[in-house]
Amino acid sequence: MERRIFFEKSILAYLGLALSPTLLASCRKETLFPDSDFSGKVIIIGAGAAGLYAGYILKARGIDFTIIEASNRSGGRLGKKSDFADYPIDLGAQWLHGRNSILGDLAKSTATKITKDNSDSVYWFNNQITSSIPQDVEEIISSDSDSPDISFSEHAEQQGLGSEYKYIVEQIAGDSGADSSDISIKWNSIEEEEWNSGETDFKFEETFFDLIDKNITEEIKGSILLNTPITKIDYSGNGVLVSDNQGNSYQGDKVILTVPITILQDSDIEFEPALPQAKIEAFNKIGMGAGMKVFLKFSSKFYDENIAGGEICAAYADEIIGKNGTDNVLLAFVMGLQAEHLTSLGSDTAITNALLAELDTMYSGQATASFIDSHVENWTTNPFIKGAYSYSKVGIGNSRSIAAQPVNNKLFFAGEAMNLNGHHQTVHGALETGYREVINILTMEQ
């Protein structure tokens, strides 16, 4: 071949090579919803993690929205108290459960200081503190999706765990926000198989509340309406009309409901027309038990980092782990029937005294002797929360999936209880449902 012809052909060939990436790239879209022309208004009910994040995403998309919150602050089941110890404490969610999540990314990108919670556990077993127990209860309780649909306590009994393990089992159930007699070994196991954010727990040097408040709430605070409990949602017309307890109305095109499942179970919000019966039944099959956090401040640290198996409180945790401070604070993490029992005592003082009495038994009277102060955060008596977080009750089946289905392309359901990928009970799970429902709104408008 002549050199001239060869060069001509080469130039033509390589012009083609150079242009092809540009041509191919121009065929691709980098957005999820190139054809979505939604320009309506979205009303978000509830300023918890799911509602705040839905608003944050809508703002990024330039879509009009308002978040309506029943209580006097945003954050939902996230909360913070700065004046109890020489470090801030989390009144609500406090552990980041694994870093492989949107919140792991947020914490990393904002250089938020988090620490692995590697604290050791001891057990209150046969009336003594011990670092190990004869049976591996965690292993016995963990099961697979082929298990029968029975409760943790029933399963424990079938596996031969005696009554001496009752409150160890209770501690494991309590970690899932449940009483051991209610939570399903089968469905809990099925949902845990979906879990992918990691098994390591992290604690915030500041608080979990701060991560959301400073980076999400701050961006959208002008669109949050506080002290506005919603009592009625009328979606019979073209749009949706939302009414509060003062008789004020708010007009929107779509509503994202992010309220706790208890609010839907108790029909605190009236729907016009009524929600489908299957959906109401699905709400009622999702569990949400009582829960409270009691912070006990002491002059000396006489306690272990984690104590499992108490009869009054099955899980105590040293609050100072991951914090930058010196005050000795022990957290009593009380769930299920234990939380109901303490609530029935009627006062914060009575609750504190009951816990001190138990700790005195465990640590030879040192609790009362070094007690300074306490703070009781009872999520069960909060009228806009009414519990801890959702769990998979015996018989739950696919109820979360039915509960989370949009209704008439107008009502969308988010919040930790509506998470379908194993991240219910968590803040990152709630966030995921927040943006999932924005995706649903935009997808349905395509």
């Binding site: 090579l17 990928n421 995921e432």
Partner: protein, 236 residues
């Protein structure tokens, strides 16, 4: 990995009995609806990241093929093709790099009819495909509970290549070519975990998907003269 290594050793060891050994390099463009949607969702759900994650589309490839049969206008042989696609976004405190490695191993059938098409040739390939999606965060392999987060894909690919042969010297030939690959695959279902850090939130049926890959590149031919002479004599 052992199979790949054995395959490459076989290619080189067999060169002395071969007609042609070809080595190609070039640009590849990948289209994976699944990856696109996951990256788009990742970007959509993280407004706090200033720089968006690019789609996993631009990459490079190298291929090595060995044509060992000759029948009139047809040659056939075996080939191995490796492609690498990267997507990198650098944000404050959070640099994310996604990489998709794709290895194709299979059989190639080459058709060249000088009388009809001059120096143009076409090829059909049928391959087994192995894909590996992984990610690095802040230049470190991304770990969950001390385990690297990866997603493996296994499938087949059907490729059509068209090229133009240019003889430079007595033995050495080069060939610019374009190729189109269609690759249905089965995934172990972890792509969503790797990219968007969720499972079943975006793709409920992510296990069966397909890639489309477009290649442009240049191949260099190293013909074996002995074998070529022999085949020419046989043809006479």
């Amino acid at each position: 990995m052992r199979i790949v290594l054995a395959f490459i050793i076989f290619l080189f060891a067999s060169k002395s009995y071969s007609q042609e050994l070809r080595i190609g390099v070039g640009y590849s463009n990948l289209y994976s609806k699944q990856f696109d949607r996951l990256i788009q969702t990742y970007n959509f759900s993280r407004p706090f990241l200033q720089k968006k994650q690019p789609l996993l589309d631009n990459g490079i490839h190298v291929d090595l093929s060995y044509l060992f049969k000759s029948e009139k206008n047809l040659k056939s042989g075996i080939s191995v093709d490796y492609s690498l696609f990267n997507s990198t976004a650098e944000n404050p405190n959070l640099d994310l790099k996604l990489s998709f490695n794709m290895l194709e191993l299979g059989y190639v059938l080459c058709y060249k009819n000088k009388d009809k098409f001059g120096d143009f040739y076409s090829e059909l390939e049928v391959n087994a495909v192995l894909g590996l999606l992984n990610k690095k965060q802040n230049n470190e392999t991304y770990l969950i509970d001390n385990q690297a987060v990866r997603s493996l894909q296994v499938g087949a690919s059907f490729n059509l290549n068209i090229g133009y042969l240019v003889e430079l010297r007595d033995k050495l030939k080069i060939s610019p070519f374009i190729g189109f690959h269609y690759s249905p695959y089965f995934s172990e279902g972890r792509s969503e975990i790797v990219i968007n850090q969720t499972s079943d939130l975006i793709d409920e049926q992510e296990q069966y998907n397909s890639f489309y890959k477009f290649d442009v590149g240049l191949r260099v031919y190293f013909p074996n003269k002995k074998a070529q002479d022999l085949s020419t004599n046989e043809a006479r």
